[in-house]
């Protein structure tokens, strides 16, 4: 039984803690997954509970020929279920983005002490995209206009959101033509909920079209705004090194673990944690200092910008507490499991919820308010320090790995040519030359239904060994960081071509792009690849794909779908939430490919995912005519004259 439990992860640090949990009869997601079988009907989208005539279940022989009480077909039901899930995911990212916009507004108005505009250039860039006048204007005025326009996009009733204009021209045309240009962010989510109400949209294809539109309001809307405004307020990430896994917790320091998704509070905690007064206070309690670490995307936000070490990913949140060394776990929003509330009863850890949107029984609630952030951050840190003497035995696995993170769009542009020659040209050239065969985003969650971290690592290793450059975010990035794949030394696992690029640039073969909200960076990066030239004129032309091998959240579905709506082929592992309907499965795959150039598929078998990804990318290379080595072009004067200088 222990073995069975321990085999649910490939992470030796996690295994240590699972052993402890097992020995002490403490339940975790790893054990509960055995106790709670999946509902096979719901898992495949074959259940409708959108009204109280039901729930209607599509089961038995010929289940796919059945209809619900209202007459809804299985395809309608499956599409509606997917639509609501994606509305959930999109709303999560977007609500996160909205809060950042409100913070930016407060900063602009001078009402958010302790915060400032850290990246002026980024503010100017975003202002330009939004059509905000910058010439000769005060920074704060520009920031206020940007914040207001961002907020406008959430509540927009007419027209389309600003960032649509950032996509490649052809992509914009495809959206327009297929009627999925995202309008207001909130509007798409509300409309999704409306359409899936009893007796509204009952045409699977039509529902799924709105699914695309809703996801776009996330990717090119809420998420992208969240990323941009975070960069403006906290700095645009650049390469930074740090460490990963439970071993980053310290025996002799106050361990404060931040967990969740927003950077607003965690950035402030990271700033305040350096306060000598607080460090002295920690020392007065017998600790050598304050060790700020984190879990999930909140941690990644401060890893990317300040190099804060990361304890682990989603499935490790309980395990961190089991070390007995976490003096306080401060959480904000998303992916914070309710079980923590119960779990902290088993040791001294103080669980502190901070968002009015996310309370958990068993936790202390200290409501965060950006108008008074330094004070609240201090209060939280004090609580952690005060809790340090209450430790009752610690067991920190001595396991961690180095990592290089910080690959924002802007930094990638810099790293490819330096201050004076920054551009994507070397990346495009590497792809054209076949040194890099393609770019694959391996992103998404953990899911105890499949072995923790295993699929992420397997796919990433296989891909880089075949010269595919991998980009990661969120829990997927943490998964691979723990095994050293996000270090430059990992180039030894890369194929010859990719290795030559890693060597030339000094980069890892796997690039950490940020939190899950930062998947929006993938969109702008791919757009710049298109604009740089030589690889087609749309994202759908690129030799690229996305994979979410261990997904579990609605956010993952929304991310995957906005990638698809942007022209990418996206594969999900685990299982299909629409697997019950062959019609919906077909629409989101080949149907969408015809409509918008991207397709969404669910495939639990990792080798098949690998094969399909590679086939797809090779197909794209062929279409671009870059599948074969080409003779070197030599330039005479005539040819040189034809070269453009931007």
């Amino acid at each position: 039984m222990t073995d069975e439990l321990l085999n649910k992860t490939v992470d030796p640090a996690a295994k240590e803690m699972l052993k402890y949990a097992y020995d002490n009869n403490i339940s975790t997601m790893f054990s509960r997954v055995e106790e709670m079988k999946r509902c096979p009907i719901g898992a495949e989208g074959r259940c409708c509970k959108n009204c109280s005539m039901g729930p209607c279940r599509f089961t038995g022989k010929d289940y796919d020929k059945k209809v619900g009480i209202c007459g809804a077909t299985l395809s309608t039901v499956a599409a509606r279920n997917l639509g609501r899930a994606i509305a959930g995911g999109a709303s999560a990212h977007s609500d996160h983005g909205r809060d950042l916009a409100l913070t930016l507004k407060a900063v602009a108005k001078g009402e958010a002490p302790g915060y400032e505009i850290k990246d002026e250039q980024k503010l100017y860039n975003i202002a330009e995209i939004m059509g905000v006048e910058t010439n000769g204007r005060d920074l704060k005025d520009i920031a206020l206009d940007v914040a207001n326009r961002a907020l406008e996009d959430f509540g927009r009733q007419e027209g389309i959101i600003y960032y649509v204009s950032r996509a490649p021209k052809r992509r914009q045309e495809i959206w327009k033509k297929s009627g999925i240009e995202p309008r207001g962010v909130d509007r798409e989510v509300v409309e999704m909920m409306h359409r899936t109400h009893i007796g509204v949209d009952q045409d699977a294809e039509n529902i799924l079209r709105h699914v695309l539109r809703t996801s776009l309001s996330d990717g090119w809307g809420g998420s992208m705004l969240a990323t941009d405004i975070s960069d403006i307020l906290f700095g645009t990430p650049k390469a930074v090194s740090s460490t990963m896994n439970l071993g980053v917790l310290k025996e002799d320091e106050v361990n404060l673990v931040i967990h969740g998704h927003e950077p607003t509070l965690s950035e402030m905690i990271a700033t305040v944690a350096d306060d000598p007064e607080l460090i002295d206070y920690a020392k007065s309690k017998g600790a050598k200092g304050i060790n700020l670490t984190g879990i999930c995307c909140t941690a990644i936000e401060v890893l990317m910008r300040q190099g804060v070490p990361v304890v682990g990913n989603f499935l490790q949140q309980e395990l961190a507490i089991l070390t007995g060394a976490v003096d306080a776990m401060v959480v904000d929003i998303q992916c914070i499991i309710q079980a923590l509330g119960k779990l902290v009863e088993t040791n001294h850890t103080e669980l502190i919820t901070t968002s009015p949107k996310a309370k958990i029984p068993g936790a202390t609630h200290i409501p965060f308010d950006e108008h008074n952030a330094p004070e609240i951050a201090k209060q939280i840190i004090m609580k952690a320090i005060d809790n340090f003497p209450n430790r009752n035995g610690t067991r920190i696995p001595k396991i961690n790995s180095p990592i290089v993170a910080g690959f924002s769009h802007e930094y990638i542009n810099y790293m490819l040519g330096g201050k004076y020659r920054a551009s994507f040209r070397p990346l495009n050239d590497a792809i054209v030359d076949g040194r890099i065969q393609g770019v694959v985003g391996v992103v998404g969650c953990n899911n105890p239904r499949v072995t923790h971290d295993k699929s992420h690592n397997y796919l990433v290793k296989e891909l880089i060994s075949r010269d595919y450059l991998v980009a990661q975010t969120g829990c997927g990035a943490i998964a691979c960081s723990k095994y050293g794949l996000l270090t430059p030394e990992a180039m030894e696992h890369a194929g010859e071509g990719l290795r030559s690029i890693c060597e030339a640039l000094g980069i890892p073969p796997v690039l950490h792009l940020g939190s899950c909200v930062d998947n929006s960076r993938v969109l702008t990066i791919l757009t710049q690849v298109v604009h740089e030239g030589g690889l087609g004129d749309d994202i759908s032309d690129l030799p690229a794909a996305g994979i979410a091998p261990e997904w579990m959240s609605e956010k993952a579905l929304s991310i995957g779908t906005y990638f698809v709506a942007s022209g990418l082929y996206v594969l999900f592992g685990v299982g299909s939430p629409v697997g019950g309907s062959s019609e919906v499965t077909k629409i989101i795959s080949n149907g969408w490919e015809k409509l918008i150039g991207g397709k969404l598929e669910f495939e639990p078998d990792m080798d098949k995912i690998l094969e399909k990804t590679i086939d797809h990318i090779q197909k794209k290379r062929k279409a671009l005519g870059i599948h074969e080595k080409k003779e070197r072009v030599l330039f005479d004067m005539e040819a040189r004259r034809a070269l453009e200088i931007e």
Binding site: A239, V240, S241, P402, I403, V404, Y414, M415, L416, G417, G418, K419, Y420, R421, A422, R425, P426, L427, N428, D429, A430, D433, R435, T487, P488, E489, S500, I501, E503, A504, L505, G506, I507, R632, V633, L634, F635, D636, M637, E638, A639, R640, R641, L643, E644, I645, E646
Partner: protein, 726 residues
């Protein structure tokens, strides 16, 4: 591995910036912050710094902020493990190195050791830049090789230099290997160094590499119309136009790596003959960035391949090295085996058209004795008669083709050619003779080059070479009247007598909106293309940069404005210019690329105009030196009151005709007055003021506008009687 290069380059950059700071501190102490600094006779301040940052360094005090900037660019050395990306850092470090070195070189000009000494030339003067830069614009120089270090033997150095010369590639030399420099090796072997032979010894220390990079930047600023501080365009301009590369010969130390990193910013890759690490993926450069371990015998061709350069060389079947780089070589009397023409014998060249059936292509005949019959150093008569035939050959092209004999012959290593027609003067060096060069080889050269350059209009070429004195005299008698007929024919060509002008957009690769309109009475502003050249060039390459421009309806005879020309200019200037007048420098004047031979500028107080050629480095009465003037006139914009023109145009009847014409000339440098004396005299007589030439002030009479006014009042210059220009 690239990390080794990046680490070395970053270390080298730290070292260089530190050295520069020490040197600057010392200079500040000695001279104070107000001490002026410059690269003599240049108008681009410290060009790398000026081009990249837009900061004009005029004094020692201006240097500190730039050095602070360089300091900020210095990244940490990559860590042993879990290092952060280093390529970008290394490139930034490379740029910091160039800033630091440029500052140090400029300080050397005031504090010593003077960069110009012995064989070393230091910064290229603007005159040289303009004269040579155009070759980078028109493609006659594909680029340059920045040769760093030295080869193990002098022979090898000569071989590499010759190979580069034969491929028309400029050789910019700096740095040394263990105290020996490539340029010194060439000098020891008696190789002619200097801009004329395209072998340019900038300086013995690695820091002198900034003169190469600075030259590249100045080309972009001068001919490319790129604004200082627009670093991205400047660097991309270099990547896509100036096909230069670095040849690192001998050991590569930290400082050389730092310079190589600087060069990569320009898209200039490094090819090394030692076993250093490689950076093979492309992107910042067109292809590889650093290619090591190349055999010295192959290093030139490897450099060309890595840079992505296509060089088409005409195979000229003669036993001497051949290429434009040898054009500037002299053959001194003591090195000469034979000479033709000059004071000791007659020499002429004559090209004419025959019927296709009458010419046997490739036939080269020598009629008379060869050079092996004479005492070394003796003179012989020579007549070079070139008979050509071709379906598209026209009599108009004869003088154009004949003029090429001068260049074609001069391209031979060990040949000297001066003059043309019946005043031609040719020398063959002892070395060339020793290599087996005979008189017939001159014919072979002409045959090969006529085909390669004018194959579109010529089908057959045969050459007869006469060394028999009597025969030469006879031929002379036949040729002279034809020369006269040809001159008269050209002289009779006027803007009115033709219905088509020709455009020249050769420079659009550098100045994208500039277009030259070449009429019979107004050649291109560079002086290199006249109307007949344009016509021939169009014939040779119908889709090339010289296109026929139908004059169309005459809109204004006074200004020289035609509807057809306006339409053409509007289109080819990419809708930036809608009207154009050929004869005015005030109203819609022609734009300039940057290649102008001279600049004409209004001197408002005098009511006249001054003219300054690019050879004149000193201050002019308009308060600007040529280089400063050039900065405001070039780049394809109309600047009323200023025009760039060829020397020839100054004495044309159409020269600023609408603004009063030739009579407006009140000032020009003495050197120029001498140079075009005959034409000036002829034109003075035409306007009925035979002593007009003496009424034009030179720098000996006046250097300020006030002084010019004083002078012209003293001499009674006719401009004083004219109406105001505006």
């Amino acid at each position: 591995m690239s990390k080794i290069i990046a680490s070395a380059a970053i270390r080298g950059a730290h070292q260089k910036v530190k050295e520069a700071q020490e040197m600057l501190d010392k200079a500040l102490e000695q001279f104070g912050p107000k001490q002026e600094v410059e690269f003599p006779n240049t108008g681009y301040y410290l060009p790398i710094i000026y081009g990249i940052t837009g900061i004009a360094i005029k004094t020692l005090g201006d240097m500190q902020p730039v050095l602070d900037e360089a300091e900020k660019l210095l990244p940490p050395i990559p860590k042993e493990k879990t290092w952060l990306p280093y390529l970008a850092n290394a490139l930034d470090a490379g740029m910091a190195t160039l800033f630091a070195e440029e500052i140090m070189e400029a300080i050397k000009y005031i504090m010593g050791p003077n960069p110009v000494q012995g064989i070393w030339l230091g910064a290229a003067e603007d005159m040289t830049l303009r004269e040579r830069g155009i070759e980078f614009v028109d493609g006659s120089a594909p680029g340059f090789a920045a040769v760093i270090g030295a080869t193990p033997t002098n022979d090898m150095a000569v071989k590499i230099a010759r190979e580069l010369q034969q491929k028309s590639i400029y050789v910019f030399m700096s740095g040394n290997t263990n105290g020996k420099a490539f340029a010194e090796q060439l000098a020891e072997e008696g190789v002619d160094l200097g801009w004329e032979t395209r072998l340019i010894p900038f300086g013995k220390e690695i820091g002198a590499t900034v003169y190469s990079a600075g030259f590249a930047i100045r080309v972009a600023l001068t001919f490319g119309g790129v604004k200082p501080g627009d670093y991205r365009r400047i660097l991309l301009h270099n990547k896509n136009r100036i096909f230069a590369f670095v040849l690192a010969l001998g050991e590569v130390d930290d400082e050389k790596y730092a310079n190589a990193a600087g060069a990569i910013n320009f898209g200039f890759p490094t090819i090394a003959d030692t076993d250093i690490p490689a950076i093979l993926p492309r992107g910042v450069c067109t292809y590889e960035h650093v290619v090591p371990s190349i055999k010295r015998e192959e290093i030139v061709s490897k450099g060309i391949e890595v840079r992505g350069l296509k060089i088409t060389i005409t195979e000229v079947p003669v036993p001497i090295p051949y290429g434009p780089a040898f054009e500037g070589e002299r053959v001194r009397k003591e090195d000469m085996h034979a000479e033709f023409g000059g004071t000791k014998s007659k020499c002429l060249e004559f090209l004419y058209t025959k019927d296709l059936t009458e010419v046997e292509d490739g036939k080269i005949e020598l009629i008379g004795p060869d050079v092996d019959t004479i005492e070394p150093g003796a003179a012989m008569p020579l007549a070079i008669i070139v008979e050509v035939a071709g379906r598209d050959m026209q009599p108009d092209f004869e003088p154009i083709l004949e003029r090429q004999i001068h260049h074609f012959t001069n391209y031979g290593h060990g040949l000297l050619h001066i003059g043309q027609r019946d005043i031609a003067w040719i020398r063959i060096s002892k070395d060339a003779y020793k290599s087996g060069f005979k008189i017939k080889d001159i014919g072979k050269i002409i045959h090969a080059k006529m085909h390669s350059d004018f194959g579109a209009i010529l089908d057959k070429v045969q050459v007869k070479l006469y060394t028999d004195e009597k025969k030469v005299e006879e031929l002379l008698k036949l040729a002279k009247p034809v020369y006269k007929i040809r001159d008269d024919r050209i002289g009779a060509l006027t803007d009115e007598s033709v219905d088509t002008f020709y455009s020249c957009t050769l420079c659009q690769s550098f100045a994208p909106n500039h277009v030259c309109i070449i009429s019979p009475e107004r050649p291109g502003l560079c002086g290199a293309y006249n109307w007949l050249d344009g016509k021939a060039s169009f014939q040779i390459n119908p889709t090339g940069p010289n296109q026929p421009v139908k004059k169309g309806e005459l809109l204004d005879n006074h200004l020289g404005m035609w509807k057809g020309v306006n339409d053409f200019v509007y289109k080819t200037s990419h809708q930036t210019l809608s009207t154009f007048s050929a004869y005015s420098m005030i109203q819609d004047p022609m734009t300039s690329c940057g290649c102008f031979e001279t600049i004409v500028a209004v001197l408002p107080m005098t009511g006249g105009v001054m003219v300054v050629p690019r050879e004149h480095p000193d201050m002019t009465p308009c308060g600007m030196k040529f280089s400063t003037l050039a900065g405001s006139v070039g780049g394809g914009v109309q600047t009323p009151g200023f025009i760039g023109v060829s020397k020839f145009f100054l004495t044309s009847k159409k020269f600023i005709k609408a603004d009063g014409g030739f009579k407006r000339l009140v000032w020009m440098p003495k050197m120029m007055k001498e140079e075009i004396k005959e034409a000036l005299q002829r034109r003075s007589e035409e306007i009925g003021t035979p002593d007009f030439i003496d009424k034009i002030a030179t720098e000996e009479d006046a250097v300020t506008e006030e002084e010019v006014l004083e002078f012209i009042q003293k001499v009674g210059h006719p401009v004083l009687e004219m109406e105001s220009m505006f």
